[in-house]
Amino acid sequence: MTPSDLDRPGCDDVAALRVEGLEKSFGNYPVLRGVTLTAHRHEVIGILGSSGSGKSTLLRCLNLLELPNRGRMWVLGERLKLREAVNGRGGAILDRRQIQRVRASLGMVFQSFNLWPHRTILENVAEGPTHVLRQSRREAIGVAEHYLAQVGLADRRHHYPHHLSGGQQQRAGIARALAMEPAVLLFDEPTSALDPELTGEVLKVIRSLAEEGRTMLLVTHELAFAREVSTRAAFMHDGKIEEEGPSRQLFLEPASERLRRFLQSHY
């Protein structure tokens, strides 16, 4: 199913992304202890929590950069074929092609940008459309130029990543994710590696994407920003979602004592 299939009538009930009972441990240390989360279309979900609460691991499990030990996952209604971990034997991907296809529909933006240093910005963005979506070179370049213009980097497209500032690199990273026309965008602390004066330009781009109605999951420490752009928010603590709800409500009337204290100290 492609994102455009979702716009057909009768498909409204299909969540863009859903996980149930997601568990993940590193060695004997449990990081996720049964996370259930649904992202409907056009939702922007802010995932909050202190360091070590498992929010980044959750995001990395969603596109299988980390293999969950247990749990079920659906992307656009399609169940991912995964083997659960049993008795010390780790979880496994059962259908690599399916996972590759699904990953292509989940755009990931990394904390440390991870632009490929041997490729220009334009090539970084065009690489996925060319080799994964099998677009013609001309078509892929067109797509890449379009999204680079959207994030304000049209004039930098022939530069190599190390010639750009952190904020520019992260905007290029966002363009690289967008060029795959993903159904869901995953942001893993997109501004945490940036100098404070550079976060603004990146947040501006993310805000404009939220306004376009894109489905996004946003792990961030920028609480004010999360409150502003997200429609829903989830507060994670100790590998579980402690509280979840409409963004306004979560920030204004936190139900749990823990979230109240978290907001008081961070926000």
Partner: protein, 242 residues
């Protein structure tokens, strides 16, 4: 020193350099082609795969190339199966024996060189390739290897120079490459000083050629500098001309 003998040897040995090149370049190419998949296997998470490749590189790197060459040239002929196989047409010829020994030797060193470079590619760059949905082969071909190769290039230049000089061992199995011809000239003229000096000069010239080519390649692959520099140059040109 007799200058005329020196100059004459330079000319004679320069001709012999063709055989040195004919031994070195194909060995490097074959070694490279073998080493890339081996390096990925060696760097893989599978311990069995990795140690199988390690066994090969360990043995080859742990024994002298001269011994390997003798084993192939003198040793293989002792085995009846090989003597009676169609391969014997090649393996009784010292050129092919030397080529085989050099290729296997170069492959082992290059494998370990690339293995280190592959493992040094930052994990996040590979994750970014995974995240856009690339297959493992695409990740290796488009991201991991190009980055690893650029990092390994200075050390790979060393390997190329090393093999170029190691090809002098081919003279021990009767091949008349630079060193082989030099030895023959010495036995005819009894002027070892002039002749080996000439041989040294030829090797030095070849090494100079190799390092120049690889320096150009390095600069080309670094890419960033020339491309941006060109653009800035064009910008400043535009600024000058109204």
């Amino acid at each position: 020193m007799q200058i005329d003998i020196f100059l004459q040897s330079i000319v004679t040995l320069a001709n012999a350099a063709f055989l040195t090149i004919a031994l070195t370049v194909p060995s490097l190419v074959i070694g490279f082609v073998i080493s890339v998949p081996l390096a990925f296997m060696r760097a893989s998470d599978s311990r069995y795969l990795s140690s199988a490749i390690l066994a090969y590189t360990y043995v080859v790197r742990g024994t002298p190339l001269l011994v390997q060459l003798f084993l192939i040239y003198y040793g293989l002929g002792q085995i009846d199966v090989i003597r009676h196989s169609p391969l014997w047409v090649l393996l009784r010829d010292p050129f092919w024996c030397a080529l085989l020994a050099f290729s296997l030797n170069s492959a082992a060193y290059t494998t370990e060189l690339f293995r280190g470079a592959i493992q040094a590619v930052p994990r996040g760059l590979v994750e970014a390739a995974e995240a856009v949905g690339m297959s493992r082969l695409q990740q290796a071909r488009l991201i991991t290897f190009p980055i690893a190769f650029r990092a390994a290039l200075p050390s790979y230049t060393n390997e190329v120079i090393g093999l170029l000089k190691a090809s002098s061992l081919a003279s021990t199995v009767t091949l008349l490459e630079i060193t082989g011809v030099a030895r023959r000239l010495v036995s005819e003229t009894f002027a070892p000083y002039e002749i080996f000096l000439a041989a040294g000069v030829i090797y030095l010239a070849l090494t100079y050629l190799v390092t120049s080519v690889f320096r150009l390649l390095e600069r080309h692959l670094a890419g960033a500098e020339p491309k941006v520099a060109r653009e800035t140059a064009m910008l400043s040109l535009r600024r000058i001309s109204p």
